[in-house]
Symmetry: C2
Subunit: 487 residues, 2 copies
């Protein structure tokens, strides 16, 4: 069902970026309340068009109506969360130190806040056509803090991208946002030119390790480097302790099977590597729980990649196929779930081959015999978005939790990692390669990626931003002479 | 007076980094109060040895006793500021969202805080042998949040570096800090190996554009890239409006002359480019105010670089020498101050040549005729740590302030940029090349460079860090269900 759209030309790209440069100061100067209304306007317009957008998304992504309906609701809730963040005001980190002749060294009046970085490039993902795409979290968080955005559409859902872009443009105009605040481009070359454009000040990206690293290298290699907030690939380790397998093995096996096949395994938080105790029957329970699934993956390229990844994993020495077909004919559109197994010795010996993300409905069970062997296996896992620990209440878990925390940004002690809440405390990020920065792409603090601090020294009141004036006209939480409060 | 010390060998470097890896978990697990005491122990020991350290620093840097006495006091005050930051507790950004089945999407219990990144590399600067060196701000802020540190000593003050390192090691041991928390290395190759060492998780750097960019490229080019917090070079633009020059030209000229020659112009915040109104006598006032200075610069390499930089600037077409000797014989140890002048047209035509940092006692006056020409000139200035605006109260300055804010991290409306307060609201950073990140290297938020967020989902109370427990045992400010407070 996908159609190919023409690549954005160099001159069109330049015009869009120039427009975003023109929008940067009005967006920065707009009040937080104004920007909150822009976000709410976009959210309302997308909700209004749900009946049109969801089928369009399903036609291009095959993710199904229930999932896409939920994803759209999540996307508009995300836009509204950032409106709430704007009204709460502490995202500005307003900080005031009055002049102090007794300090070491003595100092004048100094006031700090965060300001927008400027035009931002956003690279949309294939697997969340709403939540991590044209009007997704990167766009919402950049708009929130006053940054214009140019989105590079994902070729997996071009018609949906264009339609959402049109709705974003209309709703921003209706809400009085500056012209040029939003633009959409298409094509690989245009994307590279975007991240290298001198006027672009930061980039957000969700996608593969290979594609993300190539763009990260471009961003870092610019004459004037920019931050590249990439979410690349993640194996999301799960640990099932022997005690947990014994106490609730069937329930855990069912949960795992549902999680690694959810969305046909096309989640960045899919549990890809599962440490399981040997000889207690947990593997059999997983095999028994695997659903009878035949799913059309997002794109033919992802289908082919899944086939290649599976074949490579299955060909590794020490890897066995427990369930499903590891030699799938990728000319067949629909993919089926696969469970592989190995042991810690093999995983530790070949971490680059075995402990690498394989996008699609597959998981690798890694058997361990002892707690020490389990720790050794966990320490070989690359940086991940999440790590999940299923254990029993009376176990001594300090070393295991420390080892998992070293490798992941979110630690789960119940449930499965494939759901990602959109809240103040969410962290969706982790050590490389799961992300290329120490920041999150989901939750309220995602906005900080597109802000930089500025300190005002001895500024006349008339030249201070409202957030820094003595009378606190915005009524926001600030730090004054070291103390956080509403003063 | 400087001596050369042997390069750190590859095996010694590896041993030091291995020790820092060993210290990472005890440092992360230590209480904030414990870490505050480590910092205070280092501060007390350095203060106690001031009478030994200041003469040692002066012998190697020629910066003089008053300045170095003040710099040591500032350095120990900085260590104590981070102890205060630890006790205040909001640096952890503790955030709690209770489970909410009505949220979109519904979510479980989610709690976030910042944890240490792991072992940090610190590259010491030549020009602040205490404050930006072995026990300077990078080291203090990394220790504060629980990161072990390996410092690469600056060759400009090797004996001081070794002595400070010995005092740091002793005072940390006395305070009960884990072994391996601190190490010192020397030599260019060892520094490169340090930033490329797989166990190093971040780097702080203060130095030249060329040296900093080379290390930034290494950090970004690693198989697993790390954040490189570099402070490279800054021209720190100053604008004097026609009205200000008329109202208080002599006072401003004297302030400028004192600022650009302070510490023999070897400050990263030296005002290097000054936009001055044509034809109102301001240039003459600057020339009249230049002190009769003959200063020994930090190192022979810096002396030679100053001579080369001066000669290159003076050779540019459109540049004239207003005061001092632009063809200094760099075999003569002592350097004298120089005032150069050009106009906006020349500066805009050749920004790479004219608007680039020249480390040492020189400043470039850039004449403008109209407010529009002034704006054009300001917009050609590269990213800087500071920008200073001397204007009169009734002037319309919105465009000028916006243009300066685009290019700098600290905006001054009185005084001169060469003093840098160590406070909660300080921002010592700015667009590239002044820094390679959006973070500060001075002030309380410098600690955030060495932290990453972790979210705990549905964690049993016994496995939660103290900062995230329901009863708030640390008594710190947290965000609970979206509301900041002491709950």
């Amino acid at each position: 069902m996908t159609s190919t759209l023409p690549e954005t030309s160099a001159s069109r790209l330049d015009a869009l970026v120039s427009a975003s440069v023109g929008a940067a100061r009005p967006a920065a100067d707009a009040s937080d309340e104004d920007r909150a209304r822009w976000l709410e306007s976009v959210a309302a317009r997308l909700d209004l068009h749900a009946d049109e957008l969801v089928p369009l998304a399903d036609a291009e992504t095959h993710l199904g109506t229930p999932r896409l309906t939920g994803e759209l609701a999540r996307t508009t809730a995300q836009l509204r969360l950032f409106a709430a963040v704007l009204r709460e005001g502490s995202f500005l980190e307003a900080t005031i130190d009055h002049a102090n002749p007794d300090a070491i060294p003595a100092h004048g009046d100094l006031r700090r806040l965060l300001v927008p970085l400027g035009p931002v490039a956003v690279f949309a993902a294939s697997n969340f056509p709403f939540a991590f795409s044209v009007a997704g979290g990167d766009t919402a968080s950049a708009f929130a803090v006053g940054c214009p955005v140019v989105v590079k559409a994902h070729p997996g859902h071009p018609r949906l991208s264009q339609r959402v872009a049109a709705l974003v443009t209309e709703s921003l105009a209706d809400a009085g946002a500056p012209e040029g605040l939003f633009g959409l481009i298409e094509g690989v070359d245009a994307g590279i030119a975007l991240v290298e454009h001198p006027a672009i000040r930061a980039a957000g990206f969700t996608g593969s390790v290979a594609g993300g690293r190539a763009l990260f290298d471009r961003a870092a290699g610019r004459p004037s480097p920019i931050p590249f907030y990439g979410e690349l690939g993640s194996v999301n380790p799960v640990v099932v302790t022997a005690a947990a397998a014994e106490a609730r093995g069937t329930e855990l096996a069912q949960g795992l099977a549902a999680s690694f096949t959810q969305g046909a395994g096309q989640f960045c938080t899919k549990p890809g590597v599962v440490f399981v105790p040997s000889g207690v029957g947990f593997e059999d329970a997983v095999v028994a729980a695997v659903p009878d699934l035949a799913a059309t993956l997002l794109t033919p390229a992802i289908r082919a990649g899944f086939g290649r990844g599976l074949a490579a994993l299955a060909a590794e020495s020490g890897v066995t196929v427990l369930a499903g077909d590891a030699a799938q004919d990728t000319d067949v559109v629909e993919a089926g779930p696969v469970v592989l197994a190995t042991d810690v010795a093999a995983a530790v010996a070949h971490p680059a081959a075995l402990l690498e993300e394989c996008f699609g409905p597959v998981t690798l069970l890694v058997r361990y015999d002892t707690p020490e062997e389990l720790l050794r296996g966990v320490r070989a896992v690359p940086g991940s978005l999440t790590a999940t620990l299923h254990a029993q209440p009376d176990e001594d878990l300090a070393d295991l939790v420390a080892a998992l925390r070293d490798r992941a940004g979110r630690l789960l002690f119940a449930g499965w990692p494939t759901g990602v809440a959109v809240t103040w405390s969410q962290h969706h990020g982790g050590p490389y390669p799961s992300t290329t920065s120490i920041h999150t792409s989901v939750g309220s603090t995602a906005a900080r990626r597109f802000q930089r601090p500025v300190a005002y020294q001895d500024a006349p009141a008339a030249l201070l931003p409202a957030a820094l004036r003595d009378d606190n006209p915005l009524g926001i939480v600030r730090r004054v002479d070291g103390v956080l409060g509403l003063a």
